[in-house]
Symmetry: C2
Subunit: 500 residues, 2 copies
Amino acid sequence: MAASPYQQLEEEFRRLHAFRGALALLRWDAAVMMSRGSAEVRGDQLAAIEMECHALLTSPKVSRLLDRAQANGQMLEDWQIANLREMRRQRDHAIATPNHLISRLAKASARAEIHWMEARRSGQFADVAPHLAEVVSLMRDRAALLGSHLGLSPYDALIDEFSPGVTTAEIDGLFKAVGHRLPAMVRDALSAQAAIPVVPLVGKFPASKQRALCVEVMKSLGFPFERGRLDESEHPFTEGMAGDIRITTRFNPADPFQGLLGALHETGHALYDLGLPAEWRSQPVGRNRGMALEESQSLIFEKMVVRSRPFLSYLKPLLEKHYGVSGPEWEVENLYRHLTRVHHGLSRAEADELTYPAHIMMRYELEKQLLSGELSVAELPEAWNEASLSRLGIQPSNDVEGCLQDIHWYVGQFGYFPAYALGGLIAMQLWERLRIDRDELDLELARGDFSGLSGWLRTHVYEVGARMTVQDLVKEATDRPLSSAPALRYLEAKYFESNP
Amino acid sequence: MAASPYQQLEEEFRRLHAFRGALALLRWDAAVMMSRGSAEVRGDQLAAIEMECHALLTSPKVSRLLDRAQANGQMLEDWQIANLREMRRQRDHAIATPNHLISRLAKASARAEIHWMEARRSGQFADVAPHLAEVVSLMRDRAALLGSHLGLSPYDALIDEFSPGVTTAEIDGLFKAVGHRLPAMVRDALSAQAAIPVVPLVGKFPASKQRALCVEVMKSLGFPFERGRLDESEHPFTEGMAGDIRITTRFNPADPFQGLLGALHETGHALYDLGLPAEWRSQPVGRNRGMALEESQSLIFEKMVVRSRPFLSYLKPLLEKHYGVSGPEWEVENLYRHLTRVHHGLSRAEADELTYPAHIMMRYELEKQLLSGELSVAELPEAWNEASLSRLGIQPSNDVEGCLQDIHWYVGQFGYFPAYALGGLIAMQLWERLRIDRDELDLELARGDFSGLSGWLRTHVYEVGARMTVQDLVKEATDRPLSSAPALRYLEAKYFESNP
């Protein structure tokens, strides 16, 4: 029997999935293994495969099959209908950007990524500025084309790519209450915490020992090392998919937690990717439901799980075993105080829960200005420093602490940062419900049993795939529409009630 | 001005070059970095990109452009005409094999490679036998189709893919004299060497120190670490191209030389690939001229350069520095005797120059039988052991020393082994001429100056690319047609005259 239009589409998207897997590996290698002099060659390879993906999505054949499959829609099951909708979504996004722009963007961002790493070593923003300027200029063209095709503003069109169905208006609305409350909460928390002593965690924690600790915790969480890897890179990330998932972190020998927190953040991403509906793995409906939800899954681990007394009770003997440490500073209560300390820090990745949203908001404002042309790349370091001072109350002493901090813009990821903010809200709303649904959670975490946690997430998040919008997913999981109220309740409770 | 048919072809082959670079990286990663459980996923990725390469080469567009460019041949320069011929050659090879067979072969060999590694660990040939049987069965189909398309016997068609323009008849003819002389030479060398004492090189040589030694020697030879890597794998190999070249070796802590010899063999490949005409890098005419010539370039380093007293004079202080060794066994003459020792060994990769051809001949016979169906995969271990005994005078005690030794068949490389034999002859013929052309070579090697050596190879081999046949290249470089005479002169001189 001849394959139906829908079946033919599944076959095309299976091919796309394989290409994307290859792209993921090429990117992983560029950040973790490749010698720096090979950036140009790698850029050509990425561009060739990205163009192939683009050609596939925009081919007349796929558009024709989409129309024919749609016409036979009554023959399809629910999952298939959702899959068809996601296929169409990908086609619509792809068709708005011409081939030559895709190719130029791929090459420009491969170059900028390498020079970003170089600039972080040299501390010279100037080393990467022309490459970032090229990426920004190409992204402006891209955002304009995408916006006009999707009927969205240029910036909203970029957000839609990372966080489908989410708009600036919605993010602004959701975050207004949180943003309004935050400065006072930070101030109050700082003053309350000033009275509570924290014994510093001093020592040398070699990368090899930090790695062994990460591996043990990741195994308990269910990370499949037989089908994945943990490596080091400048900036932690997750690449790949179920079957070959790779996360990275970075180790600081003076800090016992930075490497672990990075690894567990990425493990949160990995577990989501691994838990996506297995039978839909190669299809659009089997992918994650956008970056906001992705980030919520990493934040649940990095912020809510790790920064809890029960988890730290589980972690304490592991710290003793791997680091050979003991003493009052390694008691659970001191670790908890250490990890929930609010501070005016410069690093987004290391920010506490209360100041984190401010890091996102300043990036969100700056990237809108970069894209609109209101801000030039040359002015970025200065603008970053000013925003730091006004939003965080502290100024970077150099660009490595400043506008060279995050990789996103250098690789063309504009419109991604809002996903962190939204992801935080989603995480806190899911977490509130998860704790109601599983009242034994604390006991489980304390004994290193993560099956209850991951079981809930599997049912309510992972296995949904891209079958519904992120808004509907949150509503189904929590019986409430997405709002800022759970976040405020969570932060109030954590920073103003349960602290001793 | 619109691009000419020839220019459009160059653009298509640039794209092919990028895909092949991606494939090289995916293969490198599978052998060096990837977790074993990811084989299936990687197989899908390799298959998708290989199918894309195949689709490109066999597209009606490329065939049409080839015809049109051919018709305008009088407008083209010599390099372009040669490029057009190589494009056509690639198209002819590709078009003989249908898409579904390409895809099945890619997946089957990705699986077999992983199980080959597993079988080498477990020592159980049975672990990989069904996967090898699948590869063999698919290769039989492939050889038959290719042969009928190219007007060659099935096996000659496979040889032609690796060593263009070379046939079984030619290899048989060339090797007859060598094969005839070898058993007696081995016997005589063994008896002559029995009277010459060799002090054993005993010690522990940690991988990290061996690696540092390899890196220092490779740097002297011109390996560009800023655009390449040295790693470890089960079986040494070279992947990538100028711009991102990666070699591997394997270290045995009890053997001070195995890792270095592997690394320098692969460095020979790498230097050839790096020296190919830079302006033709992405085009068929800028590729190596087949595997026989490739192997000649690695053998010149591994066999002729390294196993010479001048090179060992250069190496001696490096061994002292990296291994912290000294004593009579580390004197040049003892090292030379160690490295030119003839022995009835089981490992092809570690074989001496005199017994090496026997290793190739047995594989050559066995793979012809496997392909013709005369020999089944189940019978292979037994047949290998019998061939070992008759050709090498020694039997493997297990399959890891036997038919699990080489990766080639498991990844579908049938018709490759003859390239080693032919490569050896080419190496010895080039080497004879090189020593005549550069009478200061020994002095240069002794002081670690490899510029004369690499300059000669660049002019006479590397920069030729695929512009002429390997037979013509050898004739232009040495003023003589390819023959076995220089090999016999070289082996006679090395093993029966210049030994003290």
